[in-house]
Amino acid sequence: MLSWLVRGMSDLYIVLWKEIKELLRDKRTMLMVILTPILTLPLMGVAIVYLPSVQEVTVAILDEDMTNATIGDLTISSRDIASFIGNYLAQYGYAVIQGSNLSAQVLLKIPAGFVANLTSFEYQASAVMVKRLGSPRVDQAAGYIEGLLNYISRVVSEAKIRALGRLANITVRPEAVLSPIAVRTYMLTPSGMPAGTTEELKLYLGRVLALSLAFVTTPAATYIADSLVGEKERKTLEKLLSTPISRSSLILGKSVAASLIGLVGGASSVAGGLLLYLAPALTQSTDVLKFISPEVFVVLFCSSYISILVSLSISLPVVLRSPSIRSASLSSTFLIGIASVVYIASLFMNFDELKMPLVLVLAVPYASLASAVVRASLGEYLRAAIYLTYSLAVSTLLILLSTKLLDPERMISSKT
């Protein structure tokens, strides 16, 4: 038993020694593993936060009314409305033109008689907004304008209610007329702890970090395909299989080597995640740095590494039956696709809050890893640890089972 174990460890060392030497000399692969998350994650941060804010959008406000009127204690003019909306939009970087402009992406027209109708008790004032489709920033400007007009509408309504109250000689509070039902919203974390906008932002950033796991899946899945089937195509596999190195040591050694790529990828993913936080801070002076929690990065790092093991454990049985690198890579690509779908889905949902039987999707290790990062971002570290442990156990078990699947005859005889 002891000699079997010693021999197994010795075989594992030999395979690892070879794989790591080859790996460290494959500088292009190493660079890709390191640079992919470090470059793409900050770019994602810039794309999400910075780029939309600097997109040039022109808003024209055409005041055809040019009048003012009084309702109760409120005097209102179309010029004030135009300038109020214009100044507000200018604060958010929109180019605002007072007057008609054919090239503007958003046009707000205040028609003649607008203020008269606005201040009357009989008529409804209507403004006209024209927006060009195709840009989220245009939609955002239109949303701002609608919000501002609603605000003005509310102020005028309150003035009208006060005026009617005075005419009827009764005490009237505008809120009691306009919003007879008040809703007070309190936020809680999924585990029931009090939460505010800070927790909301942390959760959002946690979801983005979970998405970053998709980047570390790719190199290891590709590497294990190349490591096993590639040896056949490079004509080194047959000789290796004929040596006394045990088949299980061969698979385990290659898996451990591939997972080391994952370790490097995981570290890069954490660095990329840090830069993702930093990017908006640097480009927009947004202080998102205060939302960084070291524990979240520890969980992200562990999730990255385990995500690699999961990919290896699922791809190994397929790769061991693939006749060529192309076929093995296609299988790996399919796997990466599944992982990406799960990680992208984690942007929009909590897997662990689905109903039966859908909650069983949590048994897919990718889903539990994404959930671990999301939970950690909310400070639920115990739950995150449970998800990590589960994924680690499943992937290790699958890798050990895969060592039984290596069939030299199948690998040697299949046509590339």
């Binding site: 030497k21 000399r25 494959d26 080194t236 004929s242 030299p408």
Partner: protein, 251 residues
């Protein structure tokens, strides 16, 4: 299990058949390889040489028949056999990102663990005949001749009881092929290693093999010392003997 090997035998195959799907590649092969000899398997492309060697190396399972290597049965005792048998596949490559020395070290470690590794590598360096400078270069920079010299060295340096060499000189220039042939002959005797080598080069086999088996279309058509086969068939060289034997079979 009772071994059917005689005391001077290393390999014995009887009624060996191998089928891949509908294609039968080996159609009932019987042969014996004696300890310490260089046994040549000669035949044209597609005759079944590589399949036969892969079975003896434990990489393929026979469809039927018996194969015994060093007293162990194939495929049952494959894990035991691999400790004493080294195999050099046809057209196999070295690990390109490792240098020549590291390639030798890999196979020394694979067969011997940490034991006697340095001494084994020194023997490998001697067998390869390459300079320390060449061995320090990455194998991806080697010519085919250099690669083959290191590969043959890696197969022999571990002092296997049986070395299986599939077309060890295929694709080599005259000088490299001559070096490999002489190396096999010299070190098999020095190390006491039994060799089975395949080739479709009749001249090569005549020069270095103690006994040969002529294989054609999955069957052995003649086996014995070269001189014996030539005398039996009435031919002047192995090529002529082969053509006569195959012609008879075809008729």
């Amino acid at each position: 299990m009772v071994s059917h090997l005689a005391s001077d035998e290393t390999v014995r195959a009887s009624k060996l058949r191998k089928r891949f799907g509908k294609v039968e590649v080996l159609k009932g092969i019987d042969f014996v390889v004696r300890s310490g000899e260089i046994f040549g398997i000669v035949g044209p492309n597609g005759a079944g040489k590589t399949t036969l060697l892969r079975i003896v190396a434990g990489l393929l399972r026979p469809t039927s028949g018996d194969v015994e290597v060093l007293g162990y049965r194939i495929p049952r005792d494959v894990d035991k056999i691999r400790r004493y048998v080294s195999y050099l596949p046809e057209d196999s490559n070295l690990y390109g990102r490792l240098n020549g020395y590291e390639n030798l070290k890999l196979f020394a470690l694979a067969y011997l663990g940490a034991k006697d590794v340095e001494e084994t590598i020194r023997l490998g360096i001697t067998i390869s005949g390459l300079s320390p400078e060449d061995l320090a270069k990455r194998a991806e920079t080697y010519s085919k001749g250099m690669s083959r010299r290191v590969a043959v060295a890696a197969s022999l340096m571990v002092r296997p009881r049986l070395a299986i060499l599939d077309e060890p000189t295929a694709g080599l220039d005259v000088v490299s092929a001559r070096y490999v042939r002489e190396t096999i002959k010299k070190f098999s005797k020095e190390l006491g290693t039994t060799i089975i080598m395949s080739s479709h080069n009749m001249f090569e086999v005549s020069k270095i093999c103690d006994r040969v088996a002529l294989i054609f279309s999955g069957r052995i058509v003649a086996v014995g010392k070269v001189g014996e086969i030539l005398a039996k068939v009435g031919a002047e060289d192995l090529e002529e003997a082969f053509v006569k034997l195959v012609g008879e079979r075809n008729e």
